[in-house]
């Protein structure tokens, strides 16, 4: 009975979405805001990548909200997986046998991933990419190390500091804009020359803050999960 109800529900959902999709029409966006932004962004923001201009310029405060959602998820996961800190009484477990290729490959991959991640973050206003994408690559870089050496762990204090400073920097830039011309998170410092690395005002700084925050948060989250499964506690109950 429950399965039949679920099937009926799914069929209704599919019908609803198909009807909506057919009403929208394909290839002709009905939203006026996209067209308006495309028309105005080159003169207003000065970022070559309009997606980044929307992300950090027009919808900057939404991005701040999304960062806080991510922060809430990361802190909730930390809260759920929290454990009592035994101060060095138990010896740290040794690494499981991994082999030379795994360890060396991880060591080689780490700087490459760092470079790619920072490249994508710093060029977020010029090429496809930006803080979110580059941040995920940074998190992957640190996670590769943890995967290769599970017992090594990661410095969670440093991660928390990076995360907090990046978030504070994002809000700080927003407050600076508020103090400067009365609009929270409005791009400052002029537009520069389109297509150059130092252009689009404060957007690269915001992008860097987003990238560091996302990277630190996801790295902390995944490391938390990996550490927790690597050394299970004897009993919680």
């Amino acid at each position: 009975m429950r399965n039949i109800a679920s099937l009926v529900f799914a069929a209704g959902l599919a019908f609803l979405l198909l009807v909506i999709a057919s009403e929208i029409g394909f290839g002709t966006p009905k939203m006026l805001i996209g067209t308006g932004i495309l028309a105005q962004a080159p003169d207003q923001v000065g970022a070559a990548n309009i997606v980044t201009a929307v992300l950090l310029g027009y919808r900057g405060i939404d991005t701040l909200g999304e960062l806080s959602i991510l922060f809430a998820a990361a802190s909730a996961a930390g809260l759920v997986l929290a454990r009592r800190r035994d101060t060095g009484t138990a010896p740290r477990p040794a690494d499981p046998p991994g082999g030379f290729i795994l360890r060396t490959g991880a060591d080689l991959l780490f700087p490459l991933l760092l470079v790619v991640g920072f490249y994508i973050i710093v060029h977020g206003h010029l090429t496809p990419g930006g803080g979110f994408q580059g941040g995920v690559i940074l998190a992957a870089a640190f996670f590769v190390l943890v995967l290769a050496r599970p017992a090594g762990g990661m410095n969670h204090t440093a991660i928390a500091w990076v995360e907090g400073l990046a978030g504070a920097a994002f809000i700080g830039i927003g407050l600076w804009a508020l103090w400067d011309n009365g609009d929270f998170l409005r791009p400052l410092l002029g537009q520069g020359v389109l297509g150059e690395l130092l252009s689009a005002g404060t957007l690269p700084l915001l992008s860097l803050a987003v990238g560091l925050k996302v990277g630190a948060e996801l790295a902390g989250l995944m490391t938390l999960l990996a550490e927790h499964s690597a050394e299970p506690e004897a009993s919680d109950r």
Binding site: S6, L17, F26, P29, M31, L38, I69, P128, F132, D236
Partner: protein, 170 residues
Amino acid sequence: MSYLSFESILYTGAIGLIVIGTLGMVMSSHLFRMVLALAIAEAGANLLMVLAGYRGEAVAPILGVYPAGTAMVDPVPQVLVLTAIVIGVGVQALAVSVLMRLYQSYGSLDVRVLRERFELDLSKAAGIGPPGSQEAPAGERPLPPPIPIAARRSELGVPVGGARAGESAP
């Protein structure tokens, strides 16, 4: 959409992912499979949103690469999807961490098994017998006579330690 065209295939694919994910969430009884189904549904929703911003004969919204005046796709859905993907990862990590705690405490991720163990724990914490009902009586047969409502109200005042098996908390 009545004809089979390129766009209807794209839309059907995205909507199909959403429906498959929804069905997986509703019909599976294993919690980790529900998380995976949530990821599938999320991918479908993201795909649908990017599709909504598509424009024929248009290029990616990046200035300086194509000659000025070239039609560009709508950047707003791309921005929404961009953040939704990262937030989806965060939410899935949170869900998985809750599942890990659940598995440590209850030794299972099956919803039915979990529900039984939850109820046992709850009734143990409340100090009453295992839950039962008219359909599945937990106490001895034959069933005790039904208690009048007035008597049951008076029972509310007394501690529930000695409550009969076969009736749960009032």
